[in-house]
């Protein structure tokens, strides 16, 4: 593990609860780890499992999804729909060898700035223990077994009639 490993956590926060909680944490000057990169969505129900996998594939060490508490969704029940796909997604991600701690879903309401701080710090600490996921680097490593140099020095030259 590299020294001073600073995990990158891609966070999807719903506009009405968790994003607002993060704003509240800011207004209240609650300090937490600078590890999150937040994508604002209107509702956690917008979070497509493709986004989560894309984040991992592009170098996220963890993905955090924050939504409203059950029953509190600004859109009535978007968070339940997220919950259903999240329950399946975490099984899938686990079967593909990504530690479950790297994918986290939390209900954080607009008034829970403190909870947001705690969740980010906790997740950062957990991922620091796990070390980097570094999928882009792994993809590159996997592809070192290809033989472009041996078999094909001019791979891109034949432009297939285009």
């Amino acid at each position: 593990m590299p020294e001073n490993f600073e995990p990158k956590i891609l966070a999807f926060f719903c506009n009405w609860c968790t994003y607002t909680a993060a704003d509240l944490a800011g207004v209240s000057r609650m300090k937490y780890e600078p590890t999150t990169r937040v994508v604002r969505v209107m509702c956690s129900g917008r979070v497509d499992p493709q986004f989560v996998l894309d984040a991992f594939a592009h170098g996220a060490d963890g993905v955090l999804i924050g939504g409203c508490h059950p029953g509190d969704c600004h859109y009535v029940e978007g968070n339940y729909k997220l919950l259903r796909r999240f329950r399946m997604l975490r099984r899938l991600v686990a079967s593909l060898g990504i530690e479950p701690e790297r994918l986290r879903m939390e209900w954080i309401s607009a008034s829970e700035g403190e909870r947001l701080q705690k969740v980010v710090n906790e997740m950062t600490a957990q991922i620091k223990l796990l070390g980097p996921l570094e999928l882009p680097e792994r993809f590159r490593e996997w592809d070192t077994e290809l033989h472009e140099e041996t078999f094909d020095k001019e791979r891109e030259v034949v432009a297939s009639g285009q």
Binding site: G26, R46, D48, E77
Partner: protein
């Protein structure tokens, strides 16, 4: 797709990036110049600059000028939260001559400088976030806000002083008001008070004229003994269902002569009188109090013999010469359409049983403050005679402050009104009984006009003030003077020792809590709660009566403990906000709705069960899903679930989010 020509056409994407110092709020932690320098190197970025206060007029003008000067067609601002200034900068973008949705905002203050300390890491994060925005804004499209007309009526939920004042304000402005109150009468808690602090006005004298005005106002439809059961729609166009519980009285026939009450087979009350805090009894057919509005009796189905299947001669019905009593009445539902909603559902007094050491329910002469309000009131259960349960007058009274407030075992918050009402009750009790009055307080909080002066007056009147949280109330005497009395045990933190004060009567200054069903109400109106359970305002300072749901406003103690003047002021503010909405006459709908691209839709029906607003239907002829943009609220749940990628959400398109994700993760 060619990076250079993404967007609404084939024009080259030209992005302007503006980063705000916010004085030292951002620049104190983030190296804004370094971020600006970095962003300047990113593709499509034409200009990148930093400014002291970007939200200022000069800052906005800079954006407008740069749009013109550099022929920008995209703008990214890194500053505070978009929830604060997104509108400001969208407007500036529009003033520069481009569609306001060619704008994106990066939150580097609330999510950056204010929560991080390491300058290098906070700067790194700001760079990452800026890069994400730059990548996403390339894919933004021009969007138009849709306008919808606003219905010229308002729903006020709750008929306490907050609801009454809001309803009257709206009605006097010429708007149609539906006031829905759960109890048989409006008036709320204020109607139960004897006097109001610090002026000692008679509560009924100032409240009941307003109540009658509500009852007779041509613009107000008052539905008491009713509850809102469902609310659908959106700002300006809410569809509301109101359940009208049966009061077993034909409202249009009852004139409030109260003959039925006199003729009830029960000659005296047979059930606890809630209005008098259960200190007296009332009959099954009753009116909550003399000045109740509407002046209509109600029959309590729990107490009425006939309604419980018992044998009763129904003398109340025969006594009514207007045949207004109708035992067959069933609950009915009213359906109304309103433009705005004011939620004024009030509070619940703290349940004193939760502090068992104070003996409430165990010692007969331990009262809550609201009970004492009724006791000192001349229309109360004793006609204003303050007497103990044994009929004697108390010679000394202890008032315990902060019961269920400022207490980590119960509620942490200060209920704001208890100090003042305790002082008021101290004054009234002294006036009525000439007893020695002991106030046991933690701090005396009197922040209001004339409040501190009132406190001084009480001190001059010879009341005792003992600083200390009371440990318990005991009836075990250790000296003869304590025999047969209650002893308040308290550490006097000014004197520095534990005292035992024998008293005949104890008043518990119970705090204010959210109502038991606050959570249910909150869900019904789609608003949020703060962690203690009071309804959450949109912004604690700048939008104190708005909620996160447009067109739903808050008034009174449902938002947090407050006294009558503050409640009335807030109710007026909620009415003013509603009036703005109604008088503008239209609402602009955010364009972030979803739409189906027909050629990609297989009609698989995956999206149909997902929309909580029933905005998605199926065109059976074409075999595709159709989203009604008027009903769509833009959550994006269907977009995520569409297995064909056939649904797009404006401003949250897949390609925008993918671009954002992927660029956020590239380390600058």
């Amino acid at each position: 797709m060619d990076d250079k020509t993404i967007g609404n056409g084939s024009e080259e994407v030209r992005i302007g990036f503006f980063i705000c110092h916010c004085g030292s709020n951002i620049a104190g932690t983030i190296d804004v110049e370094a971020v600006a320098d970095y962003v300047r190197t990113l593709p499509n970025v034409v200009v990148s600059s930093d400014y002291k206060y970007t939200c200022s007029v000069a800052g906005q003008d800079m954006i407008v000028e740069d749009i013109l000067k550099y022929k920008l067609n995209r703008v990214v601002v890194a500053a505070c939260s978009p929830l604060l200034h997104e509108k400001t900068f969208r407007a500036a973008t529009q003033r520069g001559g481009i569609n306001p949705f060619f704008f994106h905002m990066v939150n580097i203050r609330e999510h950056g400088s204010w929560v991080h300390q390491d300058r290098a890491l906070a700067t790194q994060k700001a760079m990452d976030m800026a890069r994400g925005a730059i990548a996403r804004v390339k894919f933004h499209k021009a969007l138009e806000k849709r306008r919808e007309p606003v219905r010229q009526s308002v729903l006020v939920v709750g008929g306490g002083i907050a609801g009454i004042h809001a309803a009257l304000t709206m009605a006097n402005a010429g708007k149609k008001v539906y006031l829905v109150e759960r109890e048989p009468t409006i008036g709320g808690h204020m109607a139960m008070f004897d006097k109001t602090f610090p002026t000692l006005d008679c509560a009924a004298c100032i409240l009941t004229p307003k109540m009658s005005e509500v009852g007779s106002h041509p613009n107000i439809v008052l539905w008491s003994y009713s509850e809102v059961t469902e609310i659908k729609g959106y700002v300006g166009n809410y569809d509301v269902t109101v359940k009208r519980k049966p009061r077993y009285i034909k409202e249009d026939l009852c004139v409030g002569c109260l003959d039925c009450i006199d003729h009830c087979v029960f000659k005296t009350g047979n059930t606890d009188d809630e209005f008098n805090q259960n200190l007296s009894k009332r009959k099954p057919v009753y009116i909550p109090f003399a000045q109740a509005v509407p002046r209509l009796v109600a029959i309590d189905p729990a107490a009425c013999t006939h309604l419980n299947g018992g044998k009763c001669e129904q003398s109340c019905a025969t006594a009514c010469d207007r045949q207004a009593i109708d035992f067959e009445q069933k609950e009915t539902f009213e359906h109304i359409g309103v433009g705005a909603v004011i939620v004024a559902t009030g509070f619940k007094p703290f349940d004193a049983h939760r502090k068992p050491l104070y003996g409430y329910g165990r010692f007969p002469d331990v009262y809550t403050a609201l009970e004492v309000e009724r006791l000192v009131c001349s229309s109360g259960p004793t006609g204003g005679d303050v007497v103990l349960k044994d009929g004697s007058k108390p010679k000394s009274v202890g008032i315990i402050h902060c019961v269920g407030s400022r207490d980590h075992q119960t509620n942490r918050w200060c209920s704001r009104v208890c100090c003042m009402y305790s002082l008021k009750l101290a004054h009234l009790l002294k006036e009525h009984t000439d007893a020695e009055i002991y106030n046991f307080y933690i701090d005396i909080r009197t922040p209001g006009k004339g409040y501190e002066e009132f406190y001084e007056r009480l001190q001059e009147e010879g009341n005792h003030f003992i600083r200390g949280r009371v440990g318990d109330i005991t009836d075990v005497p250790i000296i003869p003077e304590e025999e047969g009395r209650m002893i308040v045990r308290v550490e006097d933190s000014l004197a520095g020792f534990v005292r035992r004060i024998p008293v005949d009567m104890v008043v518990l200054a119970t705090g204010l809590e959210p109502r038991e069903d606050a959570s249910e109400i909150r869900r019904r109106f789609n608003i949020s709660c703060s962690s203690e359970g009071f309804f959450l305002e949109r912004h604690p300072k700048l939008a104190p009566v708005s909620t996160t749901t447009d067109g739903v406003f808050l008034a009174g103690c449902c938002q947090g403990p407050k006294d009558i003047p503050d409640t009335v002021a807030q109710a007026g503010a909620a009415a003013a906000e509603s009036l703005v909405l109604l008088d503008v006459g239209y609402v602009e709908m955010e364009p972030m709705t979803a739409f189906v691209t027909e050629k990609y839709c297989s009609g698989c029906k995956t999206c149909l069960p997902l929309c909580p607003f029933s905005a998605i239907s199926r065109d059976e002829e074409k075999g595709v899903a159709v989203i009604n943009p008027v009903l769509c609220k833009g959550c994006g749940t269907c977009v995520a679930a569409c297995p064909s990628g056939a649904i797009t959400q404006n401003l949250f398109e897949d390609r925008q989010i993918f671009a954002e994700i992927e660029e956020l993760l590239v380390h600058a």
